[in-house]
Amino acid sequence: MISEAHVEAAIETIPVPRHIALVRITHWIIVLSVIGLLVSGIGILVGHPRLYWGETGSLATPSLIDLPIPMIIGPSVWYRPYHFFFAWILVLTGLTYTVGSFITEHFRRDLLPAKADLRWNRMVGIALEHLQYRPHVATASTYNVVQRLTYLAVAFLLFPAFLWTGLGMSFGMTSVFPILATGLGGHQSARTLHFVCVVLLLLFVIVHILMIYLAGFWRTVRAMITGYVPQGGRSR
């Protein structure tokens, strides 16, 4: 005889679908290209670790921010082609993700917040609950409103801001669309804001990894690789 307890135990071991293939594949390609962009970006930045506002800035003019890193002239030349290589991978992957998100309804189902959730006290409550860690966060089959808004902001505000501030430094692009530079306050402002985007992205990455750790590191990472959350691993 198969008892009800047996059936429940069997169901417990059935993995629960969590992430669709589009999200998993683009997630890891974006992780790799962001690492490549960060490393090559630092290689470019050390060539002149001073940030300015406006169109111009040099050692002869006051800076907005003096980064406490050594100035090493030379590597920027070598790192730049890597920066553009990874930038293209990121842009093409980002486009695939964006188009795919609408086709697969990932955007509507997983990212668009419910209207009822868009209230401050509810969002603050969820954020606090998130930080304190409650078990159901780890086994949730979808994102809460704070996660949804964060992912939306990173994917559709921060990454486009990287692109704009990057292209704002391009002489070719600003010859056709001067607003890419003037809209930001100038060539050096675009460079400074490109750096501000890096700081914002690093803040996101730190919180993101912290949350993954709180929710159970391997279970969460495995879900982003295989697409499934094993139910048996419900308890931490």
Binding site: W88, F171, G172, S175, V176
Partner: protein
């Protein structure tokens, strides 16, 4: 049934692969034909270089103009990037105001010619106030005066097969070993014939200072600093894409 389906999907996959491959082949052929493939297209990094150059050449087709600035925007202290050559030959030329200096224009031209500084200054002059940004990160605004490269190339008569223009500076024997102070560069015809591409002999209303490339330097509106060759001595028109300065960095400077 499954056998038929298997064969059908096999044929479909085969046709799709063939279509994809020939589509890619056609894209590469057209890209090459319309000048969308940069000299440094090879290797894995060449993918990014090609995508950047091709998309910018498509977007900037025609003579899109770089931003020009007001006189009041001119930087008080323009950045010196590498001091002028200090070998005997350069110092001798500098001492007598470059009277014995000549710029030669050769290669795929109907009439190879050479110009003295005075002859270049007698050609129609124009001034542009442009942003100069170094790939290291600093930038300044200055006014540059000179003759359009297109005017000089017209006088020499570029042949129809011309695809690139090579800009050679004086050799600089005392350049640092780790930093390439004096760079030779090549440009495609779109940038060579661009209305903001000058052979500049003046800067901020005065003669071009030695540290900024006297007697003559290249100054483009749509390219970053390293593409603006200083201390020019020779211009060669060529159809050779593989003749460019290799060894690190990107070829296209409009990034």
């Amino acid at each position: 049934m499954s056998k038929i389906l298997g064969r059908r999907s096999f044929i479909t996959a085969g046709l799709a692969t063939a279509a994809g491959a020939s589509g890619l082949g056609a894209a590469v052929y057209l890209a090459d034909r319309y000048g969308l493939i940069p000299p440094d297209h090879g290797g894995i990094l060449g993918i990014g270089e090609t995508l950047t150059y091709a998309s910018q050449r498509l977007i900037t087709s025609g003579h899109s103009l770089a931003r020009e600035f007001k006189r009041s925007d001119i930087s008080k202290i323009p950045t010196v990037n590498g001091w002028h050559p200090t070998d005997e030959k350069y110092l001798a030329l500098l001492a007598d105001g470059f009277k014995n200096w000549r710029l030669s224009v050769e290669g795929l031209v109907a009439r190879p010619v050479s110009f003295s500084l005075e002859e270049l200054q007698r050609l129609p002059a124009e001034s542009h106030i442009l942003l100069h940004a170094c790939e290291q990160g600093w930038s300044y605004i200055a006014e540059w005066t000179g003759v359009r490269l297109a005017t000089v190339l017209d006088l020499a008569g570029t042949r129809p097969e011309a695809r690139y223009v090579v800009f050679e500076p004086f050799p600089n024997p005392n350049q640092s070993r780790t930093l390439v102070r004096v760079l030779w560069e090549t440009h495609d015809m779109a940038d060579a014939l661009h209305p903001q591409t000058l052979l500049a002999y003046g800067m901020n209303g005065e003669a071009l200072p030695p540290d900024f490339g006297a007697p003559l330097r290249l100054r483009l509106g749509r390219q970053m600093g390293w593409k603006n060759t200083k201390y020019l001595s020779r211009i060669v028109v060529t159809d050779r894409r593989d003749h460019y300065r290799k060894g690190g960095g990107t070829w296209y400077g409009g990034i």
